[in-house]
Each structure stands twice: as structure tokens, then as C-alpha cells.
Symmetry: C2
Subunit: 418 residues, 2 copies
């Protein structure tokens, strides 16, 4: 962990920079994968599955039978957890439904804006070291709620050709039944351009490794919308002298163990806190099952002591973290001053993990400083809004003389037409 | 104009395709411009201004003096128009302000989502054949309303090194005072990366030619958000037998005269309408000041007669037009069935031009079928939303036992910490 005490403002931009993971060869390889899928569709998907994932697949689509079997494999306690998480996510996202508001901007001129579901959406759930059914819930629940007509799910199969039953159970629970055993950049390409088996969608959602992220970027240049430019997960903890170092250490580690490229930052106004947290981190790290991964992530992490609260909050807004914990006595006032962050966790009893799984807020959030301009995924991410104009006959006379004052460039023909 | 009568469904995808304007050399040239701006900042901007726009600029920033002079150059009638448009845009966008909604998803677990202005935004207003002060209003009014701290405006100067006074008057009217004489891809690069004179922003807005569009795409891959992937403007008119062919022709021409790459489509359920509209177009075109431009755009335009209303509305949703006029008797019912469009104009007395300028709805809209997944610009385009979680002490006991049911993967450390 790198330590800084009252870093000068001139150093802040450097401290806010995330380690760059961009690899030169990446774009070429991903373009090649996308082109293969465009050209040969399902055949390319099966070839790539053998080549990259070492799995030979018969059919790409998960069958009703596989879904039924999965149902029997998930322990009842876990099923209950998934149901509670689903209910909380639904409860929170339901409040985000916008109403259509009608405005008469001038007499006889009525305007409104109406949210409409995106017809076809694709959800990507990565494979890897843990089945990310929470990601499926975070994307599938609002997609269903928005009323998307067609929801396609792609997720890589395990080495034996099957999908983790928890994923399948969660999909069935929320009513998604078009599930395909495809992972990586090729899954994104399949959903963007369609194949004989996998329908093309209008917008692709979901996290993934650098191949997936690059594929999302590339298909977005050709007309398929994407949720967010994703990057490695991040946590910034702000702590004052009242914070419990054991809590802070646990929070930092819970993010660090996500993966070796996780970003972890502590900003404290208490000069003695840094040492206390370091001791706690060392203690807790030793007992972690994923200590190697967490240890790697900690190497590039930052511990920063700031002169005062102003500097601490100023740094948070400059860094624009994906996840922010305000483990401080006056977290309520401080939260009002946060302008750049994905999701904020307030007080000593709100660990980030609450929001990762089940409090109901969405865990698909802007990373890498993107929180300056991007929101996390919400119900609105699965909708677009259409504006409507209706000028009644009595509205028109008001336009005529007014119209003639505009410089003569366009639209002159329309007034003539009347 | 190309004519189709009851085109089979298999032909629809072809009819929905817009002419591709992508040029091979474009990306390389734009990348080169961006790199020059990154490397040499203001110096590169001035060099490019001489090279591309043939203008030698002293200072890039518009002075208070220039703003004051502009004020005296704009005729009072036009000033009044700008004020009315500003008021209408403000009135419509004000209804879009989202409230923060608090939800207790579980006892003791409070979640909310709060809209926050994007700190720094950039507005690009293109030069060209007409001063697009309406674009400035459509972007500047909601940017101000959202509360963006810093609003930067870039627009190319005229050959004499000045900016059109109407643009400057409109900017002053809505309170934008950081105005820079920079156009094209270099303006986008300057706002994305910053120069000594031009501040870097978090999100760039505004239409432009293919260079500007490509530059927006490229900077968006490196962390600057953009409003929309823009393309040439489009209009689709749906007309039944009750529609006045003179109105339809005027509407089609008002879009065609935007530029030679404008997309214009008529879909009618009346078998005799096509001929009537063709006659009217020929008549009105002859009298247009911009007839050459409009004539060029009409060459690639489509006239389609559909069997019935179902096919007509089906085709609209497949095409996903930027602008849609429903010049039909039952436009009200039909409007409920529109799921893919940017902005819709209802009935015989609502020409598209109403929304282009002053009804209050935003004219920055998704083109090229993007309306399937994208909305037009709104107040929310200048904000992002942050989610908050607050678990009270009494909330935590509910989590503990529940927590242990999740597969042991991440976050195990946090419960230990407590």
C-alpha cells in the first residue's frame, strides 16, 4: 500500500489515475473475434468456444430441461437469498419509473416526453471465479420491470458444458428464458449482430474482462448501445477518528479480494488511522481464503492522510470512485457534498457488500472516474424517452408572424405550404 | 425519390438502412487532429484554424467587448424570438427534474438515488451555412438549468475571425460566457483534453459534420462522455387520405433542405397520395432558395405506400426515425403505438420545424435508427445520478444470518470485521 500524507494539490491528478490496463494487441484480437461472428455466426461461436474456453458445445441455447435440473440443485437457503435480493432490487428500481408529463409551452402547443422500453436487450454475465448471479439480478430485474420485449442472456459455460445452476435458477426466477452458453467478446458480438440462434439486440449490458469491454466499445461504434464503459472495481473509504480500523480494513479487503486489478483507497483525516488500518489489514488478510488476489490488489492501493475534511471530500470528488464509504461521524452532511461517485455507503454499518448484493441499489456502476459524467444502471437504462409535440389549430396563428422573424434559412417551405 | 408499393417484409431492413457516409480516411485524419491538440494545445488549434478554416486567430476566447458589440447587431424581433424559444425550452425541460426518492428496502436499510449536475460540460455549435443558435439554446438552457458549474462553448469563427452575433447574443442571454472560436474535430479534442485556454470538460454535446462525429466517438473511448452518436437529420411522415399533400410536401422539403445527406421518407396508406405529393414537391421545390440542396437530398428519399395502418406503424418502428410526423386523422391512437422515434409531431398542424426551434422539446435527437435504444437530449443528459445506502445499526442484525447463506466468495471479511 502506498502512503501519502497531505499530498499537494499538484499530486492529486496522479493519485486519481487508475493503473492502465490497455494492451496493444487487444483491439486487433477483439476485432478479429467480432468479424468471425459477423461472418459465420453460430459456427464461429462454437469454434471460438473450443479455441478459447476449451469447451465443445452441442447446442448454444440452454434447454428447458437444464433449467428444471438447475432448480433442484440450488439449496433452499440460497434460493431464499435470491428471492429477497430480487424483491429489494425491484422495490428500489420501481421508484425510478418516470411519468409522462404534459406541458403546454404556449397556448395550443402541447409537448410531452414518454419513457418507452427498449425492445430488445442483451445481458452478459461473466464466468470466472464465482457465479455472478447478483449481476444477473441487477440487470434482469430492471429489464423485466421496464417491459423490454426480448431479453437475451449470454454467459460462458463451465468446462463440462453446463451453466452454474444458481445463474439458471436466478434467470428462471425473474423470467428470463433465452439463455445462451457463450462468453467473452464473441458473446457481445453475437448479441450486437445476431446469429441464427442468438437474436440481435438494441443494447448490451453487463461487466466483463478487457476483451468484453473492448468488444462493447467496438459494437457501440456501429450502432448497438451499451450500458457503461466498465473497468476494474474500486472502493474509496473516508474515515475520521471515530471509525473502527477493523471495519475499515474489512471494507478495503472485501474490495481487494474482487480481483488483482481492484482499486482500493483510504482517505483519512486522523493522523493515527493509517497505522491502525495497516495493522488490521495485515491481520485480516492472513485469514482470507482469497488472500493472494487481495494481496495483489493492495500493492497498488493508496492510503492518504488529509489535513482536513475539506481536502478529504475534495479528493473524493476529484477521484470519482465507483464505490464510496463515508465511515465518519458527520457522514450525513458530508454526503451532501459528494458530487462524483457511483454509489455511496453511509456510516459505520453500511459496508459496500450491502449494495453489491441485496440492499436494492444497482451494483452496475461507473468506474475509472466515469462517475464524473455517468450514472450507474437504473430502470431508465432499459428505456428511452420519446418526445411528442401537438400543435392544435388554435396554436398555429401564434407561430406565423413569429416565424417570419427567424433568419430565412430552413423551414420556410412549411409556412408556405399552409 | 424512390417509390415502393406494399414492399414485402423481407425488403424492410434494406429500406431502413441509411446511406453510409463512412470514409476510410476519416479515422486517421481525425486521430491526427486529436493528437496534435493533445500535444500542442492552443498552438495546434491556431495552426489548424489557418490550415482548415483559413482563419488566423489572435485570441481563441471571445472577449466581453465582442459580446457587447454582438448585442447591438441583433435585430429586436430576432431577440424576442430567442427569448420566447428560451422560455419554452426552459418550461418543457423544467418538468424533467427528477426528485430524490427515499426507499426503505428492508427495516433499517434506506436507499436513495439523487440527480447531481455534471460539473463541466462542453457545447459544440457548428458553423456552416446557417448560425445554429437554436442548437445553442437546446443545449445551453438545460445545461444551465441542471446547474453545471462550468459550461464551455466552442464554435468556428467566420472567415473574418468573428462569431455570428446571433450566437453570441443567445449565449449571453442564457448566461454562457466561456466562448471559444474553435471548430471541427479540434474543438472536440480541446474540450475533451483541455488546453491552456480551453478547460477540459466531462461531457461534450452538439452536432457536427463527420469529422466532429468521429472525434466525439474517439474521445468517448478515452473517458469523455458524449451526448449522442449523431448523423444526418431525418424525417418520416405518415399520411392517410385526410392529409393535405401540400403540407406533406412542405414537411418533406423542410427536412430535405437541411443538407444533401438529409433522409426523407413518406409512408402513406392512401394509394393516390404518392402522386399528389410528388406534384406538390415539384411545385414547391422550384420556389425554394435552397432548392439544390433539397433536390440532392430528395434523390435518396423514399415514398412508400403501405397496405394498411398496421404496416405503416410497423415500418415506422422498424425505421426508428429521428423526426416523425403523424399527419393522420387518428394520430392520437397511433402515437400510443410508436415505440421507436426521437420526436413525434402529431396531426396536420404540427410541422417538425415547431420542435426544431421553439415548441420547447429538444431537437438534439437520435438519428440512424439509434432511437431504438437512445433518447434525445434532456435535462438528465446534463446530470448523473448517485445512489446512497444507509444501513442503521438496527438494520444490520437482519443481514448477518442471511449473509452466511451466500456462497463464500467475496465480502466474507466484512462480517468478520464486525
Amino acid at each position: 500500500m502506498k502512503e501519502y500524507i497531505n499530498p499537494p494539490l499538484s499530486l492529486w491528478p496522479t493519485l486519481c489515475q487508475r493503473p492502465s490496463l490497455e494492451l496493444e494487441f487487444l483491439e486487433g484480437r477483439v476485432k478479429n473475434i467480432i468479424n468471425r461472428v459477423k461472418l459465420s455466426g453460430d459456427e464461429a461461436l462454437k469454434e471460438l468456444s473450443v479455441q478459447i474456453d476449451k469447451v465443445s458445445l452441442g447446442t448454444l441455447q440452454v434447454t428447458e430441461e437444464e433449467l428444471a435440473v438447475a432448480e433442484t440443485c440450488v439449496p433452499p437457503g440460497l434460493k431464499q437469498c435470491i428471492r429477497v435480493a430480487t424483491a429489494n432490487i425491484a422495490k428500489f428500481h420501481k421508484t425510478q419509473q418516470e411519468k409522462t408529463l404534459y406541458v403546454d409551452t404556449m397556448p395550443g402547443v402541447r409537448c410531452w416526453r414518454k419513457p418507452v422500453p427498449i425492445g430488445k436487450v442483451g445481458i452478459y454475465v461473466p464466468g470466472g471465479t464465482a457465479p455472478l448471479f447478483s449481476t444477473l439480478l441487477m440487470l434482469g430485474v430492471p429489464a423485466k420491470m421496464a417491459g423490454c420485449r426480448e431479453i437475451v442472456l449470454c454467459t460462458p459455460s463451465r468446462p463440462d458444458g453446463s451453466i452454474d445452476p444458481t445463474i439458471l435458477f436466478a434467470a428462471r426466477e425473474i423470467g428470463i428464458n433465452q439463455i445462451f452458453k457463450v462468453g467473452g467478446a464473441q458473446a457481445i458480438a453475437a448479441m450486437a449482430y445476431g446469429t441464427a440462434t442468438i437474436p440481435a439486440v438494441h443494447k448490451v449490458f453487463g461487466p466483463g474482462n478487457q476483451y468484453v469491454t473492448k468488444a462493447k466499445q467496438l459494437v457501440s461504434l456501429e450502432g448497438t448501445a451499451i450500458d457503461l464503459p466498465a473497468g476494474p472495481s474500486e472502493l474509496l473509504v473516508v474515515a475520521d477518528k471515530h471509525a473502527n480500523p477493523a471495519f475499515i480494513a474489512a471494507d478495503l479487503l472485501s474490495q481487494a479480494e474482487h480481483g488483482p486489478d481492484s482499486q482500493v483507497v483510504l482517505v483519512t483525516t486522523d493522523t493515527r488511522m493509517m497505522e491502525k488500518v495497516k495493522k488490521e489489514v495485515a491481520k485480516q488478510l492472513a485469514a482470507l481464503p482469497r488472500k493472494d488476489m487481495a494481496g495483489q490488489a493492495l500493492q497498488s492501493s493508496l492510503l492518504i492522510t488529509m489535513e482536513d475534511e475539506n481536502d478529504a471530500i475534495g479528493f473524493v470528488n476529484a477521484y470519482a470512485p465507483e464505490h464510496l464509504i463515508l465511515n465518519t461521524e458527520n457522514h450525513s452532511e458530508q454526503s451532501e457534498r459528494i458530487v462524483n461517485a457511483g454509489s455511496v455507503f453511509l456510516g459505520p454499518f453500511t459496508p459496500e457488500a450491502v449494495g453489491d448484493y441485496a440492499s436494492g441499489t444497482n451494483h452496475t456502476l461507473p468506474t475509472n472516474g466515469m462517475a464524473r459524467a455517468y450514472s450507474g444502471v437504473s430502470l431508465g437504462s432499459f428505456q428511452k424517452s420519446i418526445t411528442f409535440n401537438n400543435s392544435m389549430k388554435r396554436g398555429l396563428p401564434g407561430w406565423g408572424p413569429w416565424w417570419n422573424k427567424w433568419p430565412k434559412q430552413n423551414n420556410s417551405s412549411r409556412t408556405k405550404g399552409q
